[in-house]
């Protein structure tokens, strides 16, 4: 087990992040907690891209920010493999180790316009980051910065421009270049393309894939657009209300996902192919408030298969395939699996009889 663990680059263990909700006024009083991330277990291997997908408010961004240590998790542990190969808990590091980890884990944000200080040349962003991480010579810093600008297909003399002089796509490339300048291991990409136009989106996605190969990067790719996530990721985790409901490898995720929410999410994505055949799963209702998440399975108020058990008992993530990489958190995953096998069989033998598993 210990050997296997050291393969992972990053491990997230039972991480919870709650934000207090306070009543406004002088006598501030905590009246509840937003359960943004509520017990997440994940691991990331070197060189892979882990996609995290979910709707707004599901906690995917909060989880990303916990990984880059912008937030301290309320509970749980996030550990990162250091050069020696042993796992280190990010919250228990000395200041020097902490800086080293900050260099190794970088983040790309959703809105490239606000990710750069509007008052400063973009060069200062490079300059400062490199200075903090120990590049003392100004010439050297400038060399690294220009090299990175070239790596993202921008002219190095753009370094002496203000952020507002760039288009969104260019700025996002600059943000990526700034991360790269620190020679990171892991880049957390929080909706890196959702603020961009589709044609520019493709430029950024291609660029990110190329850089991943060239600089042997590991990505956590957070997005709400599951088709983009599927295209980018080697492994995908679907989040709903602070919990992971399903993880599986990225290959054909759209067809193999099993959790009712993942399926609904897949079928809700409009596909740019006319007359594309899809299972019609339209979810009713809205995402419940993360301040008072539903008891039992968090998805039960919107789930079409909901039973009494779902309302009281919380499902665990259980493996559904031999390799153990495909995990689903649903009480009825076995039945679903059976159902799926049966329908596959039926399709093979062309027998069209419905059986009692239709309840699932």
């Amino acid at each position: 087990m210990a050997e296997e663990q050291s393969k992972h680059l990053l491990e997230i263990k039972d991480v919870k992040k709650y934000f207090p909700v306070t009543r406004p006024g002088i006598m501030k009083k905590t009246i509840g907690y937003v359960h943004a991330v509520d017990g997440v277990n994940l691991y990331i291997d070197e060189g892979e891209t882990l996609g995290i997908v979910g709707e707004s408010g599901c906690g995917k961004t909060t989880l990303g920010k916990c990984v880059v240590h912008l937030y301290d998790p309320t509970e749980g542990e996030i550990s990162f493999r250091d050069d020696g190969g042993s796992m280190k808990d990010l919250s228990k590091l000395g200041s020097r180790e902490n800086m080293e980890m900050k260099r190794k884990i970088q983040m790309v944000f959703q809105d490239p316009y606000s990710a750069m200080n509007p008052m400063k040349y973009i060069w200062t962003a490079f300059d400062e980051a490199l200075k903090i991480h120990g590049v003392k010579e100004r010439k050297e810093r400038y060399r690294i910065a220009s090299e990175m600008m070239e790596a993202v297909n921008l002219r190095p003399d753009y370094l002496y421009r203000y952020p507002h002089e760039f288009s969104g796509g260019q700025l996002q490339r600059i943000c990526i270049a700034r991360c790269l300048a620190l020679n990171p291991k892991l880049i957390v990409c929080d909706e890196p393309v959702s603020a961009l136009d589709v044609s520019v989106q493709a430029q950024i996605l291609n660029l990110m894939r190329r850089l991943q190969k060239e600089y042997s990067l590991t990505y956590i790719f957070i997005a709400h657009d599951i088709s983009v996530v599927e295209y980018m990721s080697t492994r995908i985790a679907v989040m709903y209300l602070g919990k992971i409901v399903e993880t599986a490898t990225g290959e054909n995720f759209s067809t193999k996902c099993m959790h009712p929410y993942a399926q609904a999410l897949m079928s809700a994505i409009p596909i740019p192919v006319p007359d594309a055949k899809k299972d019609e799963v339209v979810l009713s209702g809205d995402v419940p408030s993360p301040i008072r998440p539903p008891k039992g399975c968090r998805f039960h108020p919107r789930c079409r298969y909901c039973t009494e058990r779902c309302k009281t008992e919380e499902p665990e993530l259980v493996p559904v395939d031999e390799s153990g990489t495909h995990l689903v958190a649903c009480h009825y995953v076995r039945e679903m699996l059976q159902n799926r096998l049966q329908t596959a069989k039926k399709e093979d033998s062309n027998a069209g009889q419905q059986d009692e598993t239709s309840a699932v």
Binding site: D197, L205, N206, V228, P272, L283
Partner: protein, 335 residues
């Protein structure tokens, strides 16, 4: 104009903005015709003039904008006369009678589109009483019926609630209710679901298709999402830099795209299940500054197939198959 089958026809429309000493050429020669009872999609990237075109139709433009030419022919009744909206006074009585009653519009951000100090019932009521003479009791009945039809649970109770008590998806339903209460012939939805989650987006778009079924409303959906177009629209117009570069039925556009821009747009979005070894198709560069007037095809600087001819003028639209129009020199367009 064939008013039997067409509800709206835009001919050579040009809209400009004066910003300081500069002129922004937002809409340059848009030609578009919306079939009665169809869902027309307008797709394009930000800054392509798709929203401005729709605002020009209703003359909901800022004071520094003006129509520099062209016609917007609107035929409320099949077989009836067409009226030219472009010639109307934007603050005039006639225009106001059309807005909300004959043509309704819903916007991108439902959170900001409702007044927080009035109940949603009174906000829907306002639009109804503005255009129709009905007594309040009946109006309320009609509104509650409509709310129920739009999938708002417990409509009698929700009628008296305030916008902050509604979630984003529910607010957009209320916006649709405000738009639909007078039963307009044409509903314009300007990025109706961009601010919403995908599962809610599916609900709202499906709802719009239902409305079309039940009321025969023609719908225009403005979006940047090719998936929405493919899934929910009958016809598409692809816009680039204030021009419709290609138009036709959804199938024509997606299965047989002719314009290089359309081709790239169709192929640059990842599709579930596509092989990951291939790079996505991209369009090099970014959209040019709209405050510089072009004297030739606007797409030429980013086009892979540009030739000398492309730098000489604007291609006129040609019909490459029935109902499928494309404006490109490489596809036989003439300047």
């Amino acid at each position: 104009m064939d008013t039997q089958n067409t509800i709206l026809q835009i001919d050579h429309l040009k809209t400009r903005f004066k910003v300081g000493k500069k002129t922004v050429y937002a809409v340059n020669d848009v030609n578009l015709s919306v079939a009665r009872g169809h869902v027309q999609g307008i797709v394009g990237e930000s800054g392509c003039g798709k929203s401005v075109t729709m605002r020009t139709v209703l003359q909901l433009l800022s004071p520094n904008a003006y129509i520099a030419g062209g016609d917007i022919l609107f035929a409320p009744e099949p077989g009836g006369d067409a009226i030219d909206l472009a010639k109307m006074d934007r603050y005039g009585e006639e225009m106001r009678a059309i807005r909300g009653q004959k043509i309704a519009m819903i916007f991108q951000n439902p959170m900001a589109s409702l007044n927080p100090v009035y109940t949603i019932g009174s906000q829907i009521m306002e639009n109804l009483l503005l255009h129709e003479k009905v007594d309040k009791e009946e109006a309320k009945k009609r509104i509650i019926n409509l709310l129920a039809e739009l999938g708002i649970p417990e409509p009698e109770q929700r009628y008296n609630e305030y916008p902050h008590q509604f979630s984003g998806g529910m607010k957009q339903r209320v916006m649709i209710a405000i738009a639909m209460i007078c039963n307009p012939g044409l509903l314009i939805a300007d990025e109706p679901t961009t601010a919403l989650d995908v599962t809610i987006q599916a609900q709202i778009l499906r709802l719009m298709l239902e409305l079309r079924e039940h009321h025969g409303t023609s719908v225009i959906i403005v979006t940047h999402n090719m998936g929405i177009i493919a899934e929910y629209c009958d016809d598409v117009a692809v816009m680039y830099m204030g021009r419709v570069v290609e138009s036709g039925t959804v199938r024509q556009i997606f299965q047989n795209p002719q314009h290089p821009y359309t081709r790239a747009l169709v192929r640059c979005v990842p599709v579930p299940g596509m092989p990951k070894t291939n790079d996505l198709e991209t369009i090099s560069g970014s959209t040019p500054d709209a405050s510089i007037a072009f004297d030739h095809c606007e797409f030429e600087p980013r086009c892979k197939f540009a030739t000398e001819a492309c730098r000489k003028g604007f291609p006129q639209a040609v019909e490459c198959e029935p109902g499928h129009m494309v404006s490109c020199f490489a596809r036989g367009g003439q300047s």
